[in-house]
Assembly symmetry: C2
Homo-oligomer: 306 residues x 2
């Protein structure tokens, strides 16, 4: 069993980044790939990997960042002001995949660790989660996504899936549309209720589960025939992704406000997006039925949750 | 000379909305038009006019709103807390025009009036302005735009153009890109330093000047031949418009947070937008030269400012 040092965590995150990048490349021989290794004046840096213009993947970003400094900015710890000014270390992997085929959903993963040192003890926590944003409603995809999420949580405690599933529904919510961003998944933060080794194991389980949750759905949908209607609807719905990320997403807003690397932060935005005044889907159409998927609901039965 | 009653102001705003709508329709026989008359539970309503899918205009919104209530929400008066709870009346016209041709710039106009009553006196002010967002850099367009703005300001006092031009550069600024949204124009708010009749006349002068500032530029550029390269660059640059409106624009954020009419507020967003990781323009190209236009500069000479 691995340890929980900065090196252990960094090593896992880098390995996860590679596995996801390989999973994308294995599915798309035409994918254009870029890799940027960047450094940050205050300490640390990252590896941004961007995939674009493929036949399966229209755009994807798979980012690793490892950022540290001698003094945590007060703005980074609004809910824990006592940590301001301490040495800190934040690491994470962020992934967004925007497939070309409108029947294939967009997915997002984030796993991260945070540590501060000082005053005789270490404060640490993990955070992250994954969520799915379909353009066309398929019950079985959502069921598979949530079943995989629940299975990843199960060994770490009863109720974790339900708690973090609810957290995901709350977080990825567009108030001005009264819609969730997608069908949710998991969202956890400030996670340190388990011993560090187990909390890290949980975070790894979530990172690993993303691969099992997403790629089977992508494989199932990526070759579905579609036309202009589906493409137009996909581009229209991608507008909601932009609205969420620029209006609500804490990571995006904090990153941009604190002078983060703009191109890495905004890599999550879709490659092509459409806005239309008062778009209305034809009653009873698949596009109209998507709306029912954008309210929190239980995707697993009570017996599946046992 | 007209008065400054609510009816006088409303009548001017509605007339301005009609003139701009007509100017758009006169230039584009294929323009799809929509008009929504909407009402608001707390009092008032508006007329949203949307133009789309034309041969000249890809999308434009020309909105009139007239909103009143018995008690001004505290969030509406962050800088004037003493006005919270009073009866208020806010009216305005907002215009955004996104042309199809990448050589034709996007333009924005807003003019608005605000009044509260109570405690023995009336508090009123006007606000507004217009700004231009080119995709391709043409000095002469920017000069015409700013000369028209300066001419509108001149009868109302020396220094008004310089003051509101600087205000526009400050307001339409994307900190995370270190770029202005475009080449600026005028931006004024809380404007009540002149007698009300003159302050209203100034606001009308700004509204009227928008027509003279914008449509000659649109006419000059709307038929310029272009190809995929220019179209791709236009869609890429439109991403900045979305970033500004969703990350910084006070009207947009306040409107969405306060339960405003989402479809009218987000009507300003471009119809089709593209994001690309680390887009770089070829050195010396027109696309690269646009960057020089996105830092505040004096578009008029000292002698033109006299």
């Amino acid at each position: 069993m691995s340890g929980t040092s900065i090196q252990d965590i960094s090593s896992y995150f880098l390995h996860l980044q590679s596995r996801i990048a390989e999973a994308l490349m294995a599915r798309d021989g035409r994918l254009h790939t870029e890799e940027d290794r960047w450094q940050r004046g205050e300490g640390g840096g990252g590896i941004t990997r961007v995939f674009s213009k493929g036949s399966v993947i229209e755009k994807a970003g798979v980012n690793f960042s490892d950022v540290h400094g001698a003094s945590l900015p007060p703005s980074a710890t609004a809910h824990r002001p006592e940590l301001a000014g301490r040495p800190y270390h934040a690491m994470g992997v962020s992934v967004v995949v925007h497939p070309l085929n409108p029947y294939a959903p967009t997915s997002h993963l984030n796993v991260r660790s945070f540590t501060t040192e000082g005053e005789g003890h270490t404060v640490w926590w993990f955070g992250g989660g994954f969520d799915l944003t379909p353009y066309y409603p398929f019950e079985e995809d959502c069921h598979h996504w949530h079943a995989t999420a629940a299975a990843a949580c199960k060994p770490f405690g009863a109720g974790l899936y339900a708690e973090f599933k609810a957290g995901c529904d709350r977080y990825f919510y567009l108030k001005h549309r009264d819609e969730t961003r997608g069908v949710g998944g998991l969202f956890f933060d400030d996670f340190n209720r388990l011993p560090k080794r187990e909390a890290f194991a949980f975070t790894k389980a979530v990172g690993n589960a993303y691969l099992d949750a997403y790629f089977p759905i992508l494989d199932l949908r990526k070759d579905t025939p579609y036309g202009d209607r589906e493409r137009e609807f996909q581009l229209y719905r991608r507008g909601r992704y932009v609205e969420f990320n620029l209006l609500y997403d804490r990571g995006t807003l904090f990153g941009l406000q604190s002078g983060g690397r703009t191109e890495s932060i905004l890599m999550s935005l879709p490659p092509l997006v459409r806005w239309e005044y008062r778009h209305t889907a034809e009653a009873g159409s698949a596009e109209a039925r998507l709306t029912d998927f954008l309210k929190p609901r239980n995707w697993l039965s009570e017996s599946e949750l046992q």
